[in-house]
Symmetry: C2
Subunit: 257 residues, 2 copies
């Protein structure tokens, strides 16, 4: 494949499948294009079967590090000529997974730039903080993301970002709203069950009551269950922010306002 002729964005999706589609939809929706040919080149790989559940790995329920499956996806994207790669899953950005993934990619896939979704989100969150001020940011995520403090690596109080998280019981409720086989978003995404929607929206209200000035929807399934207009604070959707960042990198003149 001629890798340098044509800038191509690679997305590792499938974690979960609909989140991957959403990520690519965000790239298209945030690109100024009036005809097909003006859109950016993207490849979405959705090979869910080779990537074990990220939270189950982080909680030691499964043994295999999902980084290996993610790396196989990265190899496939690379073989297809992608120049950039982003992973459309928050929990996969846990250091226990993402650092191994990064090491493997950097070792064997030259000129393949990894765009870290959580880092991109933190950069975005910091941009209007006044010196000396602290922004309180609520975080909703999977148990794996909370437990391994994926976001704490990039959202630091000394840099003006203070994370507010649900207590463990509430984290488990939100996690079930994503994963439960009988009512979770991964099993029922179209439509989402009332129960999943209620749990998630109730916890957002609670984070706002505790002072959150913005709320991170820190699992790619969560935006499917939230109507931002129902709340007074802004939401940070890392997938959307990262999709916009990719458009900005590849074709800054095409990024929608």
């Amino acid at each position: 494949m001629q890798r340098n002729n044509m800038q191509t964005i690679g997305i590792i999706g499938g974690v979960g499948p609909n989140a991957g589609l959403d990520f690519v939809r965000n790239i298209f929706a945030n690109t100024i294009a009036r005809k097909d040919q003006e859109h950016l080149n993207c490849i979405l790989i959705s090979c869910s079967s080779i990537i074990p559940d990220r939270t189950e790995y982080l909680l030691s329920i499964v043994e295999e590090n999902p980084a290996y499956g993610m790396f196989e996806c990265a190899q496939r994207l690379y073989a297809a000529g992608a120049n950039y790669v982003a992973v459309a899953c928050n929990t996969a950005h846990s250091n226990k997974i993402f650092s191994l993934f990064r090491t493997m990619v950097e070792k064997s896939l030259p000129d393949f730039e990894i765009i870290n979704m959580i880092e991109t989100c933190a950069t975005y969150a910091k941009k209007d903080i006044k010196p000396g001020n602290v922004k309180r940011i609520g975080l909703l995520a999977t148990l794996g993301t909370h437990t391994t403090k994926v976001y704490h690596e990039y959202f630091k109080e000394e840099e003006g970002l203070l994370l507010i998280e649900p207590d463990l019981e509430k984290q488990k409720e939100v996690h079930a709203a994503i994963y439960d086989l009988d009512y979770g978003i991964k099993s029922y995404s179209n439509p989402i069950t009332d129960k999943a929607r209620e749990v998630i929206n109730k916890e957002i209200h609670s984070l706002i009551e505790r002072g959150a000035e913005a709320v991170i929807l820190g699992c790619s399934e969560l935006p499917l269950a939230v109507n931002p207009q129902d709340f007074d604070v802004p939401f940070l959707d890392p997938g959307l922010i990262c999709a916009r960042r990719l458009v900005e990198i590849v074709a800054p003149e095409k990024l929608t306002i």
Copy 2:
């Protein structure tokens, strides 16, 4: 890439971009899966910039055959390990494009099965025709699809399928509802403009009045503008039918009812 370890569906999208996403969404939505890992392996390539507009080629407005760009996409999917390839664009199935595409693929990409969306749709349409009967099927599509009789190759009266098409003036109106830079679906897909929706829905009513017992939404943008519940006849969405066929080929036990 180890091509045979893992059945992977390749989709050439980008023609247009949202139609490609819709195709893959149809694969996921028609797969029985209660967790990520139970979903099928798919790769979507959306490299719109290298595939000239299909209708413009068929009407001799542009010179380059879109088959070359489609073939480059197929090569990239192949390099990424895909075993099957479908093209998420009706007009691309015109013989003037698709036969060149097929020749190039068959010549240089062994063990890479092309699934023809229109042929799959015709097979589906024929399945409940009684011997000696003829089913009248309305067709809405781009000018390129109508002019080069893409569907006539697979929908034949002697096999029980009679196509009913809008007259040329109406074909042009529907084409504009897809392509017009000021109100067409390719430029305004979210939300679709009232004008595009009205033109398309009015023409569906007209096909039904002329005796259509089913209507083919023969351009991947059209399903975005139609609410099937507003009409008394069934719709044939070739993208949906082909997505279901791919699930059936790769994992028949996972096809939703």
